[in-house]
Amino acid sequence: MTEAARPPIAPVCDVQPTRPVSVGDLVAAVEAMAARRLRFVTATCLDMGGRFDIYYHFADGVKLDNLLVTIPREAELPSITAVYLGAFLVENEMKELFGINVVDIAIDYKGRLFMTELDQPHPMAKVQSGATPAGQGE
């Protein structure tokens, strides 16, 4: 049952197509998506320890088109709500659950979207300040 005994399996990457963009280019890239009349679907945030991988999913007809932004843990992330207002919920969610510093959200819940008192300020974040990495089962 050790981790080493696990047979190696090639990772699948089905999130296609994905175009990586830098934080600085994000809003411009999103504006380009808007210019193409793509529908904003959602954003997905992955806490990779030291960095966040944030996917922005857009629907082009029935197909998806994605952007990938990678930011360091403490970095600011510009809001895209000026372009796609619909992103306000997901940005507030990232702010609250992962502790990403999303700035200039159109409707800002100030980190109080879902939760009232925070025992764990950002429960989805893998690294809590002063806490051991969570996620190791029961």
Partner: protein
């Protein structure tokens, strides 16, 4: 009866002198002797004197059961010169005002009036000697009571009010405008008394113009730009009405050859009246419409609310606007059975509906009261136009009850305004927690305007009953009464909207000169409603009988027995009183639990009262604003067309003269 016998010996002329001149004299004393205590004392004494005089008049009329009349010897003085001189002096004053305030409108209208008055003086002025003759029938008695008693109460209330008012404006005792204020007020009361007891139209006209001038002075009392503008508007409108009055005098002089109201009423009138006489009556109606602020002249009364509250109370409840309806009621027998009368009913009914409608959209308490006043005057005028015994009875009852309730409401409003520094009814939300006593008084005042078994409603029911024969007027009355419910209920609701939990609020302290007048009028409003039957049989019925005696062809007594009045009102009162008192007794035992209002489970106490937790876990205080439907009942949307309709109805009155 025997006890009252000596009263009969008092000459009506003496009484008249007391009623008309004593206030003016007291006023002069107030003006001359400028100390706080003298002012308080003199005004109070003036109030007592007036009240006693009015009660004496009532007692005499009650005992003698006939109208009192007397005339000074024609030779005693050059009466015609005096009255003409008085008129001209007033006009001169108005012209001076017009020049000083650069009001072309006032100037023009005053010039026209001057022309008419001069014409009257030069042509028919001496058709009859203008010796002061007094005629006091029940209608006059009712008016004298209203003017003297309620007017005095308001004057007394004005003492602390004006003091606080000037304190607010930062005016010290030395620079106080109060002496002039009370002088004007008292002169006003005297003039009103003069207006309702004079038999000679020229004297009536003179007093009529005095009230116009007094009201101008009172409205512009604060001297702000707005006050000046509104006062000037009141002045030109009322002077315009004066033109109508003067034309009527000219016509009466030329075609009826008398200026005595009683003589006029005994001359061929109604269907038998000649065209010029009818035209004269229409002119009088026009004058009454301006004085009683009927549409399209309602704007002056709305503007008059810039004046200090005692002025509003005085203008609305007991003086000024009541002069107009008094004149119409006085002349009602003259246009009985004419088309003119019907058109009058419709015109009054229209103002009744239209202003009740506009009142729904208002948040300013005084404005609501103003609209309500205009509306009720419209109702009284409609009753006059219906010109049936029951309608007239309703009109007299409305005169009394409206004066009581409206005086009460204005005064209470003034107290509230000084308490919370706002006259917006939205700011009065939850007043019951802050000023429970005033709120209670105010709520009684409002309910007395609105609900059975209070007098206003009983009168309204009688009016509806009397209007069935004129379907259009009836429709207006029904709809108007319904609309009335909307703004009164909303306002009361605002007052009562209390924070849950504050079950026993602390009772506020009221100045004794606030407290006594308020309580007097509250008790009056309730007691008169309770005593609606004695009132009806002892006061209203004689008034209507006297009126009907003048109607040609209406032989015999007046039968006011209607189903409305046949209702066992005592039973109604009893059941309602029990229903109100029983829970109060139950409430003495505290409820088992006191909880906050239902707010979907998120209620919370905030510093500004109850609130709820909302977006981003912030607490937000609950704010509930009444519905005003500005989109539907906004003044801006409707005033213009309504005024046009009202103006065309007035034109219709003149037109109906030709049609008969």
């Amino acid at each position: 009866m025997g006890l009252l016998e000596p009263l009969l010996k008092i000459s009506p002329l003496t009484l008249a002198a007391v009623l008309v001149f004593s206030p003016a004299l007291f006023g002069v004393v107030v003006f001359a002797v400028r100390t706080k205590w003298s002012r308080k004392g003199v005004v109070t004494v003036a109030g007592w004197v007036l009240t006693l005089a009015a009660i004496t008049v009532f007692a005499i009329a009650f005992v003698s059961r006939t109208a009192l009349s007397a005339t000074l010897p024609a030779k005693a003085a050059p009466w015609s010169m005096i009255v003409a001189g008085g008129d001209l002096a007033l006009l001169a004053a108005i012209l001076v005002i017009a020049v000083r305030f650069r009001s072309a409108m006032v100037f023009g209208v005053a010039l026209v009036q001057l022309a008419v008055v001069l014409y009257a003086e030069l042509t028919g002025g001496h058709a009859a000697e203008a010796a002061p003759s007094v005629f006091i029938d029940w209608l006059s008695v009712v008016m004298v009571m209203i003017v003297s008693v309620i007017g005095s109460i308001i004057a007394v209330y004005g003492l602390p009010y004006m003091k606080e008012h000037e304190r607010h404006l930062g005016i010290d005792e030395a620079g106080s405008h109060r002496p002039g204020f009370f002088l004007t007020m008292l002169v006003f009361l005297g003039a009103m008394n003069g207006l309702v007891i004079s038999d000679d139209l020229r004297w009536v006209f003179f007093f009529w113009e005095v009230t116009t001038l007094c009201s101008f002075l009172l409205i512009r009392h604060d001297g702000t730009d707005l006050a000046n503008t509104n006062a000037l508007r009141a002045l030109w409108m009322n002077t315009l009405g004066g033109v109508g009055f003067a034309v009527a005098i000219v016509l009466f002089g030329a075609h009826a050859h008398t200026y005595s109201v009683q003589a006029l009423l005994r001359s061929p009138m109604g269907a038998a009246a000649s065209l010029p006489i009818l035209a004269a009556l229409a002119c009088l109606m026009f004058a009454a419409f301006t004085k009683s602020a009927q549409m399209p002249f309602h704007s002056w009364l709305l503007g008059a609310m810039v004046a200090p509250t005692p002025v509003s109370a005085l203008l609305h409840s007991s003086t000024m606007v009541k002069a107009g309806v008094y004149l119409l009621m006085r002349f009602a027998p003259a246009f009985h059975g004419t088309q003119l009368s019907n058109v009058l009913a419709i015109a009054g009914g229209f103002t009744f509906v239209a202003t009740a409608f506009l009142a729904i959209g208002q948040t300013n308490a005084k404005k609501i009261l103003a609209y309500s006043t205009i509306s009720n005057l419209g109702l009284i005028i409609a009753c006059t136009g219906l010109n049936r015994p029951l309608a007239l009875a309703a009109a007299v009852m409305l005169l009394i009850f409206h004066a009581l309730s409206k005086g009460l409401l204005f005064m209470a409003c003034g107290v509230v305004e000084h308490g919370i520094h706002s006259r917006d009814i939205e700011d009065m939300q939850g007043l019951v927690n802050r000023m429970p006593l005033t709120t209670l008084i105010m709520v009684i005042g409002i309910l007395s305007m609105l609900l059975p078994p209070f007098g206003v409603l009983i009168a309204k029911l009688a009016a509806i009953e009397a209007s069935v024969h004129l379907p259009l007027a009836m429709g207006m009355l029904v709809i108007g009464s319904t609309l009335t419910v909307a703004f009164w209920t909303k306002w009361t609701g605002r007052l009562l909207a209390s924070e849950p939990g504050a079950v026993h609020p602390k009772i506020e302290h009221l100045h004794v000169m606030y407290f006594v007048p308020l309580v007097l009028l509250t008790v009056g409003a309730v007691a008169f409603s309770l005593a609606v039957f004695p009132l009806l049989t002892e006061l209203v019925e004689p008034a209507v009988t006297q009126y009907y005696a003048l109607v040609p062809g209406a032989a015999g007594g007046v039968d006011l027995s209607t189903d409305v009045l046949a209702v066992p009102w005592l039973l109604v009162f009893g059941v309602m009183a029990t229903a109100v008192l029983a829970p109060v007794l139950v409430a003495r035992t505290r409820p088992d639990e006191e909880v906050g209002a239902y707010m979907c489970g998120e209620q919370i106490e905030t510093p500004n009262g109850s609130g709820f937790i909302t977006v981003a876990e912030q607490s937000c205080s609950l704010s509930i604003r009444g519905h005003y439907f500005e989109r539907y009942v906004g003044e801006d949307r409707h005033t213009l067309w309504m005024s046009l309709v009202a103006a065309s109805l007035i034109a219709g009155m003149f037109g109906s003269v030709a049609v008969r």
